[in-house]
C-alpha cells in the first residue's frame, strides 16, 4: 500500500504544483505587463485550471481505491466522444505548443455506469498521451467492441506508473485498461 500511496502522491503533487506554477507565472506576466489580458498565453490559465479540477477529483478516486473506501458510485450516462472532444478543446494550447496532430474518429460511444471515475481518469489518460506524444496522436472509438484505442506512434517515454492504479480502479468497475508504450486501450 505504501508504494501505491507514494506513486499517487508523487503523480498528483507534481501535476498540481506544475499547473499552479503555470497559473502564477502567467498572472505575474500579466501584472508586469509582459502579456495582455487577451494574449494567447492567458489560455494556459484556463487550461491549467481545468486540469486542476480533474487532478483533484482523480486524486480522490485513487486514494479511495487504495484505502478501500467505498464511494457511492455516481452512475450517469456519459458520451465519451463529447468528453474527448471537450478535453482536446480545453487543452488546445498544449497541443499547439507540442506541435501535435491529433486525430479522432467521430464514432459515438456512450457508457451508463461508473461515469464519475471514467470521466476523470479518461481525461488524465488522454493528458498523459498528449504529453508523451511527438508529432501525432490517434484516438479511435469503436462502438462495435465498446473500446477506445489511443495510439502514440512516437512516444517520448513509457507510460507513467500511475497507470497501474488506474488499471486497478477500472478493473474493479469491470472495465479493462491495457497499455504499453504505443497504445492505451480501454474496453467497456
Amino acid at each position: 500500500m505504501k508504494n501505491k500511496l507514494t506513486t499517487t502522491y508523487n503523480y498528483f503533487s507534481h501535476n498540481l504544483r506544475t499547473c499552479t506554477s503555470t497559473i502564477v507565472a502567467t498572472l505575474e506576466a500579466l501584472k508586469m505587463e509582459i502579456i495582455e489580458i487577451d494574449s494567447e498565453e492567458m489560455q494556459s490559465v484556463y487550461e491549467s485550471s481545468y486540469l486542476i479540477d480533474i487532478l483533484d477529483a482523480s486524486f480522490s478516486i485513487c486514494l479511495n481505491h487504495i484505502l478501500e473506501v467505498n464511494d457511492d458510485e455516481l452512475n450517469y450516462e456519459l458520451n465519451l466522444l463529447n468528453l474527448l472532444h471537450k478535453f482536446l478543446e480545453e487543452q488546445k494550447q498544449l497541443i499547439n505548443l507540442s506541435e501535435l496532430t491529433v486525430t479522432i474518429n467521430d464514432t459515438e460511444l456512450t457508457i451508463k455506469k461508473g461515469g464519475f471515475a471514467i470521466k476523470n481518469l479518461l481525461q488524465l489518460i488522454l493528458f498523459e498521451a498528449i504529453k508523451n506524444s511527438s508529432e501525432e496522436l490517434h484516438i479511435n472509438l469503436d462502438d462495435n467492441n465498446n473500446k477506445i484505442i489511443i495510439t502514440i506512434p512516437k512516444p517520448k517515454d513509457n507510460p507513467h506508473n500511475i497507470f497501474e492504479i488506474f488499471h486497478e480502479i477500472f478493473n474493479k468497475k469491470g472495465i479493462t485498461f491495457n497499455y504499453n508504450k504505443n497504445r492505451y486501450i480501454l474496453e467497456f
Binding site: N10, S13, H14, N15, L16, R17, T18, T20, S21, T22, I23, V24, A25, T26, E28, A29, M32, I34, I35, E41, S44, E47, S48, Q93, L94, L97, S98, K131, N132, K156, D157
Partner: protein, 120 residues
C-alpha cells in the same frame, strides 16, 4: 547572459521564457534532460535551470552529467521542481544543484535566484 531552461511542461516554459527575455536574458530551451545535457555542451549557457521530472532523462541525472562537462563544474544550476519534500531537496543538492526552487514558484523568485548565483 545566457540561460538554459529545461522543463517538459510547455505552457510553463513558455511563460518563464517571456519573463526572462523581458529582462534581456538570452534563453535556450530543452524539453528533457538528454537535450539539456547536449545543449549545455553546445551552447555554453551561463546558468542552467532544470526540472526534475522529465522524460528520457530526469533532471537529477542531467545535473550530474552537466557537472562532468569541462567548465561546468561550478556553473549555477537551479533545480526547478514539483518535488518538495526535504529529502527531495537534499537529493537535488547532493546531485550537484547550486539551488533548489519548488513549484509553485513566482518567476521573480527564479530571477532573484539566478541573479544571486551569478553574483556569487
Amino acid at each position: 547572459m545566457k540561460v538554459l531552461l529545461s522543463d517538459d511542461e510547455l505552457r510553463l516554459r513558455k511563460v518563464i521564457v517571456l519573463h526572462l527575455k523581458k529582462l534581456n536574458y538570452e534563453v535556450i530551451e530543452a524539453s528533457n534532460g538528454l537535450q539539456a545535457v547536449e545543449m549545455a555542451k553546445n551552447n555554453n549557457p551561463d546558468v542552467i535551470v532544470l526540472d526534475i521530472m522529465m522524460p528520457e532523462m530526469d533532471g537529477l541525472t542531467a545535473c550530474r552529467e552537466i557537472r562532468k562537462i569541462e567548465g561546468f563544474e561550478n556553473k549555477p544550476i537551479i533545480m526547478l521542481t514539483a518535488k518538495a519534500t526535504e529529502s527531495d531537496i537534499q537529493e537535488g543538492l547532493k546531485n550537484g544543484a547550486s539551488a533548489y526552487l519548488t513549484k509553485p514558484f513566482s518567476p521573480k523568485e527564479l530571477v532573484d535566484k539566478i541573479e544571486e548565483l551569478i553574483k556569487k
